[in-house]
Symmetry: C2
Subunit: 219 residues, 2 copies
Amino acid sequence: MARPLIQLALDSLDKEQTLKLAKLAAPYVDIIELGTPCIKYNGLDIVKAVRVQHRDKLIFADLKTMDAGYYEAEPFFKAGADITTVLGTADFGTIKGVIDVANKYGKQAQVDLINVEDKAHVAKEAARLGAHIIGIHTGIDQQLAGKTPFADLQALLSLGLKVKVSVAGGINQSTVEQVAATKPSIIVIGGAITGAKSPAEAARQISVLVEAVAIRAGA
Amino acid sequence: MARPLIQLALDSLDKEQTLKLAKLAAPYVDIIELGTPCIKYNGLDIVKAVRVQHRDKLIFADLKTMDAGYYEAEPFFKAGADITTVLGTADFGTIKGVIDVANKYGKQAQVDLINVEDKAHVAKEAARLGAHIIGIHTGIDQQLAGKTPFADLQALLSLGLKVKVSVAGGINQSTVEQVAATKPSIIVIGGAITGAKSPAEAARQISVLVEAVAIRAGA
């Protein structure tokens, strides 16, 4: 079995800190995510800066677009982002706009199910519209209230949609194997790497744990 | 009767164009809004630039925050924004975070009801949490599908909540008097000014029409 891709979520506002963490963790991750607060704070420049330093990684711009889908996402794809996000709580016209502009540039649109009430309905409709990735996402404010993404992930995977599934929300070394065993396409790790004493070592541990699950499943 | 405030929504991505339009329309508007795509494209700098040029206007940063409310909004209030927005489809913990940080800086949080299904429920809860402004908002992608904000505005105003009400969504010279007559606190005008041959003249016309309604109501 192909192992899930590992996505590093960068939520610092500081540009230099963001670039430093990306560099430290890069050998062990597949996708570098620029978080929503980081993009709003730094603008398009942060995407360009990461693109220059990491030609071999996928770049994920977490725009969380809610309106004007095509218009808002286009400059980010042009600047080198490989994936941008649109909110599952947005109008389907907005979701369609982000999918359309992703296809125009041969890139990918991710529909983020954060705080979506009827996740199955939105996931099915997003898949029908051609979304490339659907993201199960327990937000930071929801994590603070004790929530986790695990049950939602199982429910989404059980729909068997022909679309990649990404999962995010406080995943760390003690939970990543359980998550990897459910075979999502992408596992997002934020604080467990960026908040670690050694981000590089934390990223390495995560990558080993994810690969261990894949080896076990293939055995 | 106090007339509604007029808010100019700036949705260009280009910094110079944004500053130029703000300057042209400024004499006739009360609030200068930096649109979501403009902020994601330019970052915090665009707020600082408008703050420097318009000390006497309210600055509205349309963050459309969906997660990490306090964290995402704080730098914008510090940089001079007077109002930031949080999505009504966000977790109430996120909405509370933006309200808290707005209060910390003596500023205002607006809850944007764009694409919220049960608008009355979210509006009541947002008011209870202390939201300063609630925004009725027909998005650009929804406008393209023929929708308008007028019925939603009436429904929200009829709740009689102790909170300011803002309305946005394709309002122009032919509809602004009808909107002003319902007595919202804030009327948002975008394309009718920014897309006009003379943005200054369009803004002047809007301001005259809004004042005319107030004079008629007071007579």
